[in-house]
């Protein structure tokens, strides 16, 4: 599946001028609120007609203003999952789920009700009315409803934004199963680094209506200029990790990543389980000499490859560890006192590792 977008659209004072191509399984449209994410996904979904530009999905041109092509939303076969689930209040959960099947050809490959109900854990909800569902349940039904319309692409506009943390934690595993099992590519709109790091394969970063960065998650998250976009609290390198083994005596799980072995507090996951390790820049210290007697478990030797000033005395730097970039935030004083500059051999001291994507088991 490929998605090709190149559009220009004015909304009052704001101009959306975005172009990108993605063949990723999960393409994250990432950016702060007001960056134009929802407008862009509305244009892809056919809810808004762009002033100019083209949209091509899987080789089929859905929009091309120069040739006067505009496919209405009901003929695009794009599933849209809204922030508010938008379930039909006069239909039962089953009625909602089956709604799209009235209008879409049901081939052998089309998803079946039973399969989707099992995938999303909806068995107990089928006879209920939408008003009797919790926020998380509503969103699961909305996802099932979109899938059963047999879309070639799912658009998700901050599907978790309206939910509290407990409900988010309830939905995320289903989204992962969707990504790994349903074989429908997803465009995922979010302003949450944690969600994007956990789910996405490609990041398309939007700033003030234009694409400021695009690429695989690990690559984009490792860029220094992406740090301000992601925000200093959450920004940092993302590494694909596999559970290598446990040390029960020490209460430790070892994760294998391209940057080396990482030790984290014991995880309840089998060896071979895949997850994403996010090393926040603010959790990384830089040492210029070999360290002994530190409580941090993970010391990764590497070489500084990039230094940039973020402003207000804060510098961001990238340390290359076995070809992987680890980001760190340091003060100007440290940069001067330690002589931190590209080429310098240092040790990245990692205070903590944020683990995203727990529960996604390899080989499933």
């Amino acid at each position: 599946m490929t998605l090709e977008v190149a559009i220009r659209h004015r909304l009052g004072d704001f101009t959306l001028d975005a172009a990108f191509t993605s063949a990723g399984r999960v393409t994250a449209l990432f950016g702060r609120s007001g960056a134009g994410k929802t407008s862009l996904v509305n244009i892809i979904g056919g809810l808004v007609r762009p002033d100019a530009g083209r949209i091509v999905v899987d080789g089929e041109t859905l929009v091309d203003t120069s040739r006067g092509i505009f496919t209405p939303k009901h003929r695009r076969r794009l599933g849209y999952i809204f922030q508010d689930a938008r379930l039909f209040p006069h239909l039962s959960v089953r009625g909602n789920l089956l709604y799209g099947q009235w209008f879409n050809a049901r081939g052998d490959k089309a998803p079946k009700l039973d399969g989707i109900v099992a995938l999303l854990g909806l068995e107990a909800l089928l006879a209920r009315r939408p008003s009797a569902l919790s926020g998380g349940e509503k969103q699961r039904v909305a996802i099932g409803r979109a899938l059963l319309a047999n879309p070639r692409l799912l658009l998700m506009d901050e599907p978790l934004a309206a939910l509290d943390d407990a409900r988010k934690a309830e939905i995320l595993p289903y989204l992962e199963r969707l990504r790994d099992e349903a074989r429908v590519p997803i465009v995922y709109v979010s302003h949450s680094v944690a969600e994007v790091a956990r789910l996405a394969s490609i990041i398309v970063a939007l700033e003030h209506g234009t694409v400021s960065a695009i690429g695989p998650v690990g690559e984009v998250m490792g860029r220094l200029d992406f740090l301000p976009v992601a925000g200093p609290a959450e920004a940092g390198a993302v590494l694909d990790a596999v559970v290598a083994g446990h040390d029960d005596a020490l209460g430790i799980t070892r994760l294998e990543t391209a940057a080396g072995l990482l030790s984290v507090a014991r995880l309840d996951l089998p060896a071979g389980a895949r997850l994403r390790a996010r090393i926040r820049a603010r959790d990384v210290m830089i040492a210029t000499q070999a360290l002994t007697g530190v409580s941090a478990l993970n010391l990764l030797p590497g070489r500084i490859v990039e230094v940039a000033e973020q402003g207000r005395g804060v510098f961001e730097l990238a340390v290359e560890v076995r070809g992987q970039r680890i980001l760190a935030l340091v003060t100007r004083k440290s940069v001067q006192d330690l002589g931190l500059a590209p080429g310098r051999e240092v040790t990245a001291v990692i205070k903590s590792v944020a683990l995203d994507g727990m529960g996604a088991v390899a080989g499933r």
């Binding site: 979904g45 009901h74 076969r77 938008r86 008003s131 319309a149």
Partner: protein, 231 residues
């Protein structure tokens, strides 16, 4: 004393018939006009809005006289309809239906329009993304969600038609068995010495029918609200 005379039965039967047909005939145009007023953006919308609501503020006698001017036997529209379709309004029960429909129309449109304006159009958008073409969105989402308003409007129009007096008596007079509905029958009975008892009987019936319509609409509205989960 509660025994109805044949004429009184006839008036009740005719009233129900006229009110039913007035309600049924005005429903399709009522939905269309309500939809135009709620969703449409066009030149002359205010004019249409005013026109629809005119019978609500005009003296009913004036409305009846205007109907006579337009739909009378020799009036332009009236003669055209009579010659082309054989549809005669003047001094027929169909004329009573027309008068009642015109008088009830603003109430019908108003109730339906309010229910359309209360619909979350984002639900219609969602239906579109699921593959439903516009006509199907209307039939499967918009119309069901309008239902409470449609039913409320129908009951209002029905009740208004039952009570219609001024426009009816002006347009089609009060011909027993043809255009003499309950209110006109009550009025005429009161004009006769000794008609008090008959007028009282018909009054009680009018009250009973109106109360039944109100209770019926309330029960229906509740059942619908339950179906929509109180939303």
């Amino acid at each position: 004393m509660f025994e109805l005379t044949a004429d009184e039965w006839e008036a009740l039967r005719l009233s129900l018939k006229v009110a039913f047909w007035a309600m049924a005939a005005s429903l399709p145009p009522g939905i269309a006009v309500a939809f135009l007023l709620a969703r449409g953006r066009f030149w002359g919308k205010l004019l249409l809005d005013g026109l629809v609501h005119l019978p609500l503020v005009l003296p009913p006698v004036v409305t009846g006289y205007l109907l006579l001017l337009v739909f009378g036997r020799r009036a332009p529209v009236g003669s055209f309809l009579a010659d082309t379709f054989g549809l005669v309004f003047a001094f027929r029960w169909t004329g009573a239906v027309l008068a009642a429909a015109v008088m009830g129309f603003p109430l019908l449109v108003r109730a339906i329009r309010l229910s359309i304006e209360a619909i979350d159009t984002r639900l219609e958008e969602a239906a579109g993304t699921l593959g439903a073409p516009p006509w199907a969105v209307f039939a499967t989402i918009t119309l069901p969600l309008m239902l409470p308003g449609i039913i409320a409007g129908m009951i209002l129009a029905f009740a208004r038609s039952l009570g219609e007096f001024g426009a009816t008596i002006t347009f089609v007079s009060a011909i027993p068995g043809e255009t003499e509905t309950l209110p006109t029958a009550i009025y005429l009975l009161l004009q006769n010495p000794g008609g008090d008892l008959g007028a009282l009987r018909l009054t009680l019936i009018a009250i009973a029918v109106s109360v039944a319509a109100l209770i019926g609409s309330e029960l229906l509205a509740r059942a619908l609200a339950r179906r929509l989960g109180g939303a």
